[in-house]
Structure formats: C-alpha cells, structure tokens
C-alpha cells in the first residue's frame, strides 16, 4: 500500500493548509456566476511554479474541487448555474430555496458533492487505465448519438408541452451554430457582425437565460427573493443526512454516471448531471415532484458533477487528453513542470500522481466542513440582504462574470439580449433548459455528424458507420427508451386510473 505513504505525505501541515485555502477559495470563485473552475485554476498556475510540485498539485486539485462544488450555491440560491454542470441543480434547488428550504438544499448539495467526489476519485485511483479505454472507444459517431440521447432528455425534462420543448431545443441548436464552424469553416448566422464570429459563449448564455429572468421578476414585486421561515434552523444537517441516506442508491447511481460520462472528453459535466437527474426522476416513485423542489434531484446532480472531477482526470492522466477545460490547465501545468502523462505517471512519476490523488481525496473531505460553513453564510447573506441591495449585487455579478469569461463587452450585451429573450419565451411557456441543452449539445452533435459523414464517405459504408458499432446501438436504444418511456408509463398509469400522473401531463404549466 504505497499509496498510504503518499497520502501521509499529502497530510503535512503545509499541504493541509494549502488544501484548506484552495478549497475555500475555490468555493467562493465557483459560487460567483461566470467565474469558472477553469479561471480559478488558470490564475493559480503561475503561483504554483514556485512551490514544491506536490504542494502545487494539491492546491490545484483543491481549488478545482471547491469551484465545482461552489457552483451549486448560485444554482440553488439565485437560479444561476455557475458552470454548465450545475444546470440541473437549478431544477430542484431553486424551487427548494423559493419555498424556504434553501439551507437544506445547500446542505444536501454539500453531502452529495462529498459522496460523488469520493466515488469519482476512487474510480480514478482504482480503475483509471481500464476506464481510459472507454474514452477511446467513443468516436465521432458515438458522440453524435450521445448528443442525440442528451436531446431526447428534453421529452423527459420538459414540463408543459413537449413540442414546445423541442422548438426550444431547436432554437438553442441554431444558436449554437452561430460563428465560424469548426468543421467546414463556414461563417454562419453572424449577419455581418464581427461580435458573433466567436459564437455564443455557453456560460454567458447560461447566465443570461437563467439569471436575468430572475432579476427581471425580482424587481417587479416587493416580495422577498426567497421565502424565510420565522425560526432559524441552522444547517439542518440531521435532516440532510436523513434524506441522503434515503437516497443512497440515487447518490451511488448518479456518481457512477458522473464518473463514466466525465471520462469522455468534451461531453463532460453537463451531460453527466442531466443524465443522472433524469435517471433519478425515472427511478423515483413520485416523478411528478421533480422540478418542483424534490431533494433527490439536488442530490443526483450534485453527486454527478463532483464525480466528474475524478472522472475527468482519468483520460487526462492516462492518455494525456484533458477531460474538461480545468483538466487542460492542470495538464498544461504538469507538462511545464516536466512531467509526462501516460503509463509513466503510474510508474516513474507514481509519487506525484498518488500525492495528487490523495490531495483530491483530502480536498473532497474538506468540502464537508468548509462547504457547510460557507454555504450557511451564503444562504444567510442572500436571505438577510435587502432587495434594494440584492438586485444590484446579483446584476453586478452577472455583468462582471460574463465580461470576465473572455474579457468582452459584447458577451455582456449578448448575455442581456438572451436574458430578455429567455424571459419573454418563458412567459409564453418555452423553458430555458431545452434552449440551453440545444446550445451545449449542438456543437457535439454537429461535429460528430459531419465527421461521421466524412468517415462514412471515405469507407464507402455510410450505414455501418452510423449504425454499426455496439456503443452506437446501445445509445440509440437508450434514446428510444427515453423518448417512449414517459408515454408508455403514462398510458399504463391512465389505464390503472392513477391520478398522480396527471401532474406531469402536458400543458400543466403556468
């Protein structure tokens, strides 16, 4: 058990202190919309050049872990996913906060993140070389089908009309084609504007579509942003632990999905948390309560997205192919420090690798006390701050956060435009989530399709290219199930005369 030796090395007081600072800083950065884990890690890289390699890696891992978790605060408390992987957290987190359970939601997100994070790191430690092969068996065609599968989740996720969900997704997919195309090099739908050449930045679109409508409605009424019960109930840890225990299978399933999907470079966290969310909903006995503040929804997404931390490092460390953008920065830092990825990482450089993994473990464990502490503070400040200060503060975060992504005022203008459009569309029953899903999955679907098409044309067997592989067929089958399962289930329920399914019946939106 040489790993134990390295783990003890990670526990030196200096490293412990660095991990503590890293996690805390990560949580705060992640909680601010627009400030991403990528940015947190990138800012830290030059600082780590002066440190011992082990300390540097521990700190990088800590800030990354903290930032991914921190994204859940803004998702729960102001309905703004700080990163694409926190989109699904808004589905149930924000309704919980609205009805006065924001403190419970934050506690649940902390517990789920710790559980998910530990499972992800465990997979990294034990199964990395094996799982890395999964990443390689996913070619363009598989990515294409994966994106299609992601889009079929719309039918499961859309409250209200399914057709409206598909129209919204189409809108999002079209938005994703704006700019210079990666494949083909066409300049599309820029209408002569240079501003749109770089395309619509995903995170600024998230901020616009989710957060601006909240602001717009916030100023319209004198009511408080979140409902607050008279009594202060603290962090409600006992209640949270109870719910987490009830949802232990949910946690494990979601974390496994998170780990597995994160291994695929480029697909990453957003798909992982959406898939585990819809799986949790499908497995639930009360699927109609999802989207209206079901604690299990928060558990599922947060377990999944923190599992992506460990999962994403699998292709990064084993293959040298970064799973997520923050992984890319950390990989760059590794290369600059003179390390090589690949098999050497587990032999010659084993001490560094295992120290890093031990550091991730440490950081994930530190999430529990730090997350509960900072989360409680974040919740308290959101509910006590008067509206006249809350609105400009959130507005401030959206503007500066969007600006900071690529230092561009144009992105801020695009964010605001999408925000207003999103508010109007939402008023007429088009939810933001299908639009965002289209925006995120669009490039994956398109590139996969065109690359697959080119490959098929080269090999002269278009059909086998798209429908030949076992992975493709599995994903296609899953997509079919995901489209028809709700319909079949509803039929069966109606035959049995179960009124519970009425709630999820179409058109039940306001």
């Amino acid at each position: 058990m040489e790993i134990l030796t390295y783990a003890l090395g990670a526990l030196s007081p200096v490293n412990l202190g660095l991990a503590l600072v890293g996690v805390a800083a990560g949580i705060i950065i992640g909680a601010l919309p627009g400030l991403s884990a990528t940015m947190a890690v990138a800012v830290l890289v030059p600082v780590t050049f002066g440190m011992a390699p082990e300390s540097a890696l521990i700190m990088l891992g800590a800030i990354y872990t903290g930032a991914i978790y921190g994204g859940s605060y803004s998702a729960i408390l102001v309905n703004t996913p700080g990163t694409p992987s926190a989109i699904a957290t808004t589905f149930d987190g924000f309704p919980m906060a609205k009805r006065g359970d924001g403190d419970l939601a934050v506690t649940l997100s902390t517990l789920a993140s710790v559980a998910g994070g530990l499972i992800g790191v465990l997979a990294l430690l034990t199964l990395a070389p094996l799982l890395a092969q999964v990443a390689l068996s996913f070619g363009p065609v598989e990515y294409f089908w994966l994106a299609i599968f992601g889009l079929t989740l719309i039918s499961a996720l859309s409250e209200g009309s399914t057709l409206k969900g598909f129209i919204g997704a189409g809108f999002g997919l079209l938005l994703s084609t704006i700019g210079v195309a990666v494949v083909g090099g066409d300049t599309r739908y820029t209408f002569g504007s240079q501003v749109l050449l770089g395309g619509i930045e995903t995170v600024s679109a998230l901020i616009g579509l989710y957060c601006i409508p909240v602001l717009i409605d916030l100023v319209a009424t004198p009511e408080a942003h979140l409902k607050v019960d008279g009594e202060q109930r603290g962090i409600r840890l006992r209640e949270g632990l109870g719910l987490a225990w009830l949802g232990k299978f949910n946690l494990f399933r979601s974390a496994s999905i998170g780990t597995l999907v994160a291994i695929l470079p480029g697909a990453g966290g957003s798909i992982a948390s959406l898939v585990s969310y819809s799986e949790a909903r499908r497995a639930s006995r009360q699927p109609q309560t999802f989207g209206k503040g079901n604690p299990q929804g928060v558990l599922a997404t947060e377990a999944a997205n923190n599992a992506t931390v460990g999962g994403g490092f699998i292709p990064t460390l084993v293959l040298g192919i970064p799973g997520t953008p923050p992984d890319a920065v950390i990989l760059g830092a590794l290369l600059v420090q003179g390390f090589r990825t690949g098999p050497e990482l587990f032999t010659t450089n084993a001490s560094i690798t295992y120290t890093f993994i031990a550091g991730l473990f440490l950081a994930t464990c530190l999430l529990l006390p730090l997350g509960l502490l900072i989360g409680r503070y974040a919740f308290k400040s959101i509910i006590t701050i008067p509206k006249a200060l809350l609105v400009p503060t959130i507005a401030f975060m959206t503007v500066i956060g969007t600006y900071a992504i690529r230092n561009s005022i144009s992105d801020v203008v695009i964010m605001l435009t999408l925000g207003v459009a999103g508010w109007l569309l939402n008023r007429y029953g088009f939810r933001p989530s299908p639009i965002v899903l289209g925006l995120i999955l669009g490039p994956i679907a398109e590139q996969g399709f065109v690359q697959g098409f080119l490959m098929g044309r080269a090999s002269g067997a278009m059909f086998t290219t798209f429908f030949g592989g076992p992975i493709s067929l599995t994903i296609i089958a899953l997509s079919v199930v995901s489209v028809f399962y709700p319909i079949v289930k509803e039929r069966l329920a109606r035959r049995r005369g179960d009124p519970g399914s009425r709630g999820s019946h179409k058109e039940a939106s306001s």
Partner: protein, 168 residues
Amino acid sequence: MSNAMPKARVSRGEIRAACSARAEYLLPLLFIALGSLCLWQARDMSQLGAVFPVTIAAVMILASVLRLLQLTLHRVIDNVERHQDSTPRRVLLVVAMTGWALIMPWAGFLLAGLASFFFLMLIAQHKPWTPRRLLGHLMTGVVLVACFYGLFALLLNVPLPMGRWFMG
C-alpha cells in the same frame, strides 16, 4: 415565471395557454419565420456547413406546425392566473443593465459600476427611502463594488475597462 401548478384543473381537450391564447398561436409562427430565415441564409454555405442548420431549422418548423395543429384541435383558454406585476420596473432594469454594458468601455469599470449599482438600487426599492437607509445602502454599494473590483482586477488579473474617456 412562477413554477406553481395551475390551481384550476384543465379538462381534456383543452389547452391552457402559458399567457394569452393569442400568444400561443403567435410564437410558433415566430419560430417558423426564424427557421425559414435560417434556411434562407444557409443557401450560401458549403455543404458540410449547411447540413446541420438546415436539418435543425426544418425540425423546428415541423415542430411549430405540429404545435399549431395541436392548438387548432383543442380549445385554447387564456391563463388568467398569471401575475400582473410592475412592468415599468422590469423595463427599467433591462434598460439600466444594457446602458451599463454599453457605457462601461467609455466610463470605465468603476464609474459605470457605481452608477449602475445606484440606479438598480432605486429600481429594486419598493419601500420609501429614509435618509438613513439610503446612506447605509450607498455605503454598502461602494464597499461591494470595491470588493468585486479587488477580486477581479487585482486577484484574478481580469483586465477591466479603464474608460476611454480618461485615456485621452
């Protein structure tokens, strides 16, 4: 925006509009127009670049047509339960934020930030102002803007606009 379930049960054969019944017909038409625009624009693209947007635009138009059909087959009723809140404040918020974004390169981050903070504060306040409350909020606002400035400009090295008016 409200996620609340409609209180009145919608009977089968009826569709409750999200807003007004007219808008329910109008929006699919809007998306059909948008899809057609995208199709029309795709004429100049290469085959590889056009295949995806053309497919998506076609699917979107199809879904909109199906939606219109669905609407004509059912009775559409207005949603009378929707909230009627202060629309002027909503518009003001959007105007203030857009103005903020547009003026920031010229006035600089700090000045534009402080000014917008103040305006948004006025827009969000529903209760009457007392001098004490105003002063307190202003102080907090200045401190918050300063904190954000410190975090972004100094710690995270984000190049915040300095303001072309002052740069000569």
